[in-house]
């Protein structure tokens, strides 16, 4: 059969969602050939998280469309070639490059464009908009030489932009025409609370002020800005973020009906006035007459359009414009009838000016919750929004819902208060009933499974906490064991087990599981207990029964890779290494034919060692003075450093010396998860200490200590724990911090989520480790002293004992035979693991006899 042609104009978030929904329909791929015309040079990306690009999220990470998605569905994706005209009679689209594409169905998802107020000077060099990754790149470049930046527009994006400028070190102003910030979402009270919090961050806010003109210098660059309230600002960078307008020009030009205030008019099935053309997202005026600038309603329209084209039925009659976000560290949420426009509606307001918290609930005549505004503490949003949307009576008196969680006590509301029809995940349109059904009907037994089954919580993630509560309630109701304990063998948490082991002086897993647990243990509890035993100073981690508890990485003191080979990382404290050291590592890697790569922690990783080669590799490393880098352990990894005062023109302290001292002090320290650290020699922060579990930044007076930073999947900036510490106080504080963390954290809980979870948060942590409020600091310090005293290099200890070396054989009955399934093929002058389908002829010889043997990789 001849395939029909579908052309999608615009590849933004909504366009991509449309493709996903459309191609998930039965027979869509069989019946349709899909062409996508995109203006931007890259496939769809997450515009909601656009600002995170400034803090290091890459374009790749923001991408919403994998290459494999395009390939798998045979989509003809034309990047950088937008549609410029539609011929409705011939049913063709012409692109900017002059290509003409025919269609049977055309879907317009052209989004919106930033509104730039018509002020003189708005085109000057130094004026920017905030919409695409290219815009952000231009702003970043301009910011490098700018001193003062002004953001026009105090809405969501404007405040995000202001935060970004502030983070790049600019003096920052926000100019908002309305009398308050985020005028659309919050009321005057909320706007005032938000303003206070934002001004505390050093951003100057001008509300009720319009931009009158932008003045330029002789070179055409922005110099000044005049506001309607008479203020004159000296600026050299302007970001316009004063709202968006639907991009409906293409539709206007081909004669489609558009709304009075813009937006392509569509019905509830997203059909335009031409039956062959649909429009979705921000470019469309929905059936309720509104143009939605949020991704949630856009996604709902994408789904409706996908169903419309494939013969299903889906409708979009209006969306929920509730929002919750974190702006410059301040929680802001608004939902339902936030402005009390319903006749007879009454407000209940809670304000704590000192803490910068403002909360308002809008209650209807019948007592039902209609909407609300939350600023400074939006914890209750996930419960309140579904309540407002479903118009159910409140589960508790409104004042109780507004009080801080601690004061509300048992009155705090969880998912149990929600009616079944309440929408829990608005990104994926999942109700509470659907979540419950995932457990009761589809047999899901964990939060993870429910998320996979329903997609709930996989969008913006704001509902994850609520979702977790609902799923746990449902699991409990279904009789599925609640998962507070570590695993089926222990009903205790890791912190509780730590206390049991410490107080009772238990030194073996057998005793612990026999006395306090059940069964034989598993891959969850065994490594946890091994780690606890190690943290409490029970010696070499691989002797006796402790050996059986370790993950394969700890058991072989190396990191398992995908083909069963291991990688080897010697410690390079502070990233400082001599030329001889480098040569030694190079020689060893060359002699054993290992793949080498520089790690993010300033050391060298050598890949491709077979298990039987590990002792020989390490013998040479140990002979040359290297020791284990613990890359395989839940332990201290590295203390990264910048080059510091000794060399750097800007350094104010010797960051390398301190990094080495800290790395040698805490090397081998077993903890609930890996520990990373860094030391920067000045405030320029080249060592990126604020993204580490503990980071130290030099000041003229001493050292600032940051804790709880994290890179990875959920990046978090570290919190400043203490300032201007001298060396001794710094080390003592880190000792206490680390031991307190090891004592109380959950399994695989990095310091970042641990601090977030800690009752009382950072203040409590300060009280414990600086003021000794729990009276445990002497204990913590003693534990650390014991660790430092008893540290031994695990590899040297292993090599010294033939009994310990027995585990490093390929086959127990053929120790001389290397594992033939560990195979490699050449790539870029080195080697990599062979994939299963790669035939054996191109193998690199994996058997390397000795140091003199030359290895050819091609």
């Amino acid at each position: 059969m001849v395939k029909k042609d579908l052309v999608l104009v615009g590849h933004g978030m909504v366009g991509q969602r449309f493709l996903e929904e459309f191609l998930a329909q039965r027979d869509a791929s069989r019946d349709w050939r899909v062409t996508v015309l995109a203006e931007e040079p890259r496939p769809a990306y997450d515009r909601v998280r656009l600002t995170s690009w400034f803090s290091g999220t890459s374009a790749q990470e923001l991408s919403l469309c994998a290459d494999s998605f395009v390939d798998e569905h045979g989509i003809d994706l034309r990047l950088g070639d937008p549609a410029v005209a539609v011929d409705r009679e011939r049913r063709t689209v012409t692109t900017r490059s002059g290509r003409v594409v025919g269609y049977d169905a055309l879907v317009l998802a052209t989004g919106s464009y930033p509104f730039v107020p018509p002020v003189p000077g708005r085109d000057a060099h130094g004026c920017h908009v905030y919409r695409t990754l290219e815009d952000l790149a231009a702003i970043k470049e301009a910011a490098a030489t700018a001193r003062v930046g002004t953001v026009v527009g105090g809405g969501l994006l404007g405040l995000e932009a202001a935060g970004a400028l502030r983070a790049m070190g600019l003096e920052t102003h926000v100019v908002e025409f309305a009398p308050r910030l985020m005028a659309l979402q919050v009321d005057d009270g909320g706007g005032a609370a938000l303003r206070r919090r934002i001004e505390e961050l050093g951003v100057v806010v001008h509300t009720g002020a319009g931009t009158q003109s932008i003045g330029t210098g002789w070179d055409g660059r922005v110099r000044t800005m005049s506001l309607s309230d008479g203020a004159e600002l000296a600026v050299d960078l302007v970001v316009f973020s004063a709202g968006v307008r639907p991009r409906d020009q293409l539709a206007r030009e081909c004669g489609l009906v558009v709304g009075e205030r813009g937006g392509i008019t569509v019905d509830e099935r997203c059909r335009t006035s031409d039956p062959h053309i649909l429009a979705i997202g921000e470019c469309a005026q929905a059936a309720d007459g509104r143009v939605y600038g949020l991704v949630g309603p856009g996604y709902a329209m994408a789904e409706a359009a996908a169903l419309q084209l494939t013969g299903g039925s889906g409708e979009f009659t209006g969306g929920d414009t509730s929002t919750k976000l974190k702006l410059l560290g301040v929680d802001v949420a608004s939902f339902g009838d936030a402005h009390s426009t319903t006749p007879g509606a009454l407000d209940v307001v809670y304000t704590d000016t000192r803490a910068g918290v403002y909360k308002k609930l809008v209650i209807g005549e019948d007592g039902a919750l209609l909407g609300g505004v939350l600023v400074g503490d939006a914890e209750a949003y996930s419960v309140l929004r579904p309540l407002a949307v479903s118009r159910r009576p409140l589960p508790a008196p409104p004042e109780q819902l507004l009080l801080p969680a601690s004061a509300a006590g048992s009155g705090a509301v969880g998912g149990s208060a929600l009616p079944d029809e309440a929408l829990v995940c608005s990104c994926h349109n999942v109700s509470k009933a659907a979540l419950r059904a995932a457990v009761s009907e589809h047999g899901c037994t964990s939060v993870r499974e429910v998320k996979a089954c329903t997609k709930a919580g996989t969008g913006c993630g704001s509902c994850v906490k609520l979702l977790g509560g609902i799923v746990e309630d449902e699991l409990a109701a279904a009789g599925v064991e609640s998962a507070r304990g570590l695993c089926e063998h222990f009903t205790h948490t890791r912190a509780e087990l730590y206390e049991i082991v410490r107080v009772k002086g238990i030194t073996s897993f057998s005793r612990l599981v026999d006395e306090h647990g059940s069964g034989e243990g598993c891959d969850i509890c065994k490594p946890v207990v091994a780690s606890i035993l190690a943290s409490l100073g029970n010696g070499y981690v691989l002797d006796g029964e402790q050996a059986a508890l370790q993950d394969t990485n700890d058991h072989h003191l190396a990191n398992l890779q995908r083909n069963g080979s291991y990688s080897v990382v010697p410690r390079i404290p502070g990233g400082e290494i001599t030329p001889d050291g480098l040569i030694t590592i190079g020689e060893i890697a060359r002699d054993f034919g290992l793949y080498t790569k520089i790690t993010g922690g300033q050391r060298i990783d050598m890949f491709g060692a077979r298990v039987d080669q590990l002792p020989r590799i390490w013998q040479r490393l140990v002979d040359a003075g290297f020791e284990s880098g613990h890359a395989y352990g839940k332990a201290l990894r590295t203390v990264k450093s910048c080059v510091g005062q000794a060399w750097c023109r800007y350094g104010v302290q010797d960051s390398v010396a301190l990094a080495i001292e800290l790395e040698l002090r805490y090397r081998g320290l077993r903890s609930p998860h890996k520990l990373k650290a860094a030391v920067s020699g000045c405030a320029r922060e080249c060592a990126e200490a604020q993204s580490k579990d503990f980071g130290v930044i030099a000041t003229a007076e001493g050292w600032n200590l940051y804790v709880g930073g994290n890179g990875g999947m959920t990046p978090r900036h570290a919190d400043l724990l203490a300032t201007d510490l001298d060396r001794e106080t710094l080390i003592r504080t880190i000792d206490r911090f680390l031991m307190f963390y090891i004592r109380t954290a959950d399994r695989l809980e990095r310091t970042a989520p641990w601090i977030e979870r800690l009752e009382g948060g950072l203040d409590h942590l300060r009280e414990v480790v600086l003021d000794d409020s729990l009276g445990i600091c002497a204990d913590l310090e003693e534990l650390m002293a014991r660790h430092v005293e008893t540290y031994q290099d695990e590899w040297a200890a292993t090599l010294a004992n033939p009994e310990r070396l027995r585990r490093f054989v390929s086959f127990v009955n053929a120790p001389g035979t290397p594992d033939p399934t560990v195979r490699f093929v050449p790539e870029r002058d080195q080697m990599r693991p062979a994939r299963p389908e790669e035939d054996a002829e191109h193998r690199v010889p994996a058997l390397i006899a000795g140091p003199e043997l030359e290895v050819h990789t091609r």
Partner: protein
């Protein structure tokens, strides 16, 4: 498959059945409770385990999910009453008695997620 034993001597010989005969692979004392070793039997890699109580198990060493020969390096434990080994690669659990995967029915390539099992015994 499993053979119950009355704590054999460390020097006792562990044997695996292959091609209708028993092949000696190691001494009982070479097996650490809760850990495994790999043996080559008839050209195939067999992971041999000893649990805390002393029982022995022998299953295929190749992990169906990663195709890597790593099962012997997994952690031994229990799930309910089922003795299991957990693959160190992607952490699926396998029943040591039957080789059956308890987490997923099929491997990514569509084959059944199951390890072959060998009879194993100890002789003095």
């Amino acid at each position: 498959m499993t053979v119950d034993t009355q704590v054999p001597a460390a020097t006792a010989v562990v044997e695996i059945a292959h091609d209708e005969r028993w092949t000696a692979v190691c001494r009982y004392g070479e097996l650490v409770p809760g850990r495994g070793v790999t043996a080559l039997v008839g050209g195939e890699q067999v992971a041999v385990f000893r649990d805390r109580a002393g029982a022995l198990y022998a299953v295929a060493n190749t992990d169906p999910f990663s195709h890597a020969s790593v099962i012997s390096r997994g952690i031994v434990g229990s799930r309910g009453d089922t003795p299991v080994v957990v693959s160190p690669m992607y952490k699926q659990a396998f029943d040591l008695r039957t080789g059956k995967c308890l987490d997923e029915p099929t491997a990514p390539d569509g084959s059944a997620a199951r390890l072959s099992v060998w009879p194993v015994r100890v002789t003095a």
